[in-house]
């Protein structure tokens, strides 16, 4: 009797392990650290272009 109960419990526990998702993509939170996707920065040329655009665009009189 006892063996059967323990055996069923072990079987249930074993079966339940199948319920775990593929947990390989868990992001572990670290306070104050950004863990999102990286973003491409603007180059110096980009910034220069934006400054020029400001003057000829919004700054145009």
């Amino acid at each position: 009797m006892r063996v059967r109960t323990v055996g069923l419990a072990l079987l249930a526990a074993f079966a339940l392990t199948g319920c775990y998702e593929e947990g390989t993509s868990v992001i572990m939170f670290e306070p104050g650290v950004y863990k999102g996707s990286p973003d491409q920065p603007l180059t110096a040329e980009d910034q220069e272009a934006l400054r020029a655009r400001m003057s000829t665009g919004q700054g145009r009189q």
């Binding site: 999102g36 973003d39 491409q40 603007l42 980009d46 934006l50 400054r51 400001m54 700054g59």
Partner: protein, 195 residues
């Protein structure tokens, strides 16, 4: 290299909502979400002033400070962005923001907020620049195309300026000088008010 800044010249703002719809046009945010709004003080009485407000891209951003999953980051140019994949929609950033910039596309009745959405200074977000995924999640990335935020570029009266903070200051400073103290200097009425 200066930080990107917005400045709304309240002397020129006429509450036309051009900035509001320019943003909706460019970023295609849904009904109910307005990344930019115009606030009017003293509506309908002398002294009425309007000012256009969106995310101010704070140097020390309160939204970033309180976020429980740290989904915010600031670019080298001072633009404050966040990763919607990390965002849990808790609403804490809205609580912290002095300008009410964070918006939530509420769809269900019982307080489910959805991912936070806010003004990105038309700089997109942490997806590949100008990709379909970036547009879908964050709207347009104009900075990566060499253009400035649509709201500022389309302001009817050039009240709203957006771009390199140094140049914004230059333009505004010139206007102030030209106005020669208009609206009338503080205290002018005391000295010169006619009976």
């Amino acid at each position: 290299m200066a930080r990107m800044k917005f400045l709304c010249d309240a002397e020129r703002c006429i509450e036309c909502n051009g900035c509001v719809t320019a943003c909706k046009n460019e970023n295609e945010v849904p009904w109910g979400v307005n990344r930019r709004r115009v606030v009017t003080l003293d509506d309908g009485v002398p002294g009425e002033k309007s000012i256009s407000v969106a995310c101010m891209h704070c140097t020390d951003a309160p939204c970033a400070a309180v976020c429980p999953v740290d989904c915010f980051y600031t670019t080298d140019d001072g633009v404050v962005l966040h990763d919607k994949d990390l965002c849990i929609g808790c609403g804490y950033c809205f609580y912290a923001c002095p300008f009410g910039a964070p918006q939530y596309p509420q769809k269900e009745a019982f307080g489910v907020r959805g991912k936070m959405d806010k003004c990105t200074f038309c700089a997109g977000g942490p997806e590949e620049d100008n990709s379909a995924a970036e547009f879908e999640k964050y709207g347009s990335n104009r900075l990566a195309q060499g253009k400035l935020p649509m709201c500022a570029e389309m302001c009817a009266t050039k009240a709203l300026l957006g771009g390199d903070g140094d140049i914004v200051s230059d333009i505004y400073r010139e206007r102030i000088t030209k106005r020669g103290g208009r609206p009338d200097n503080w205290g002018w009425d005391t000295a010169y008010k006619k009976a």
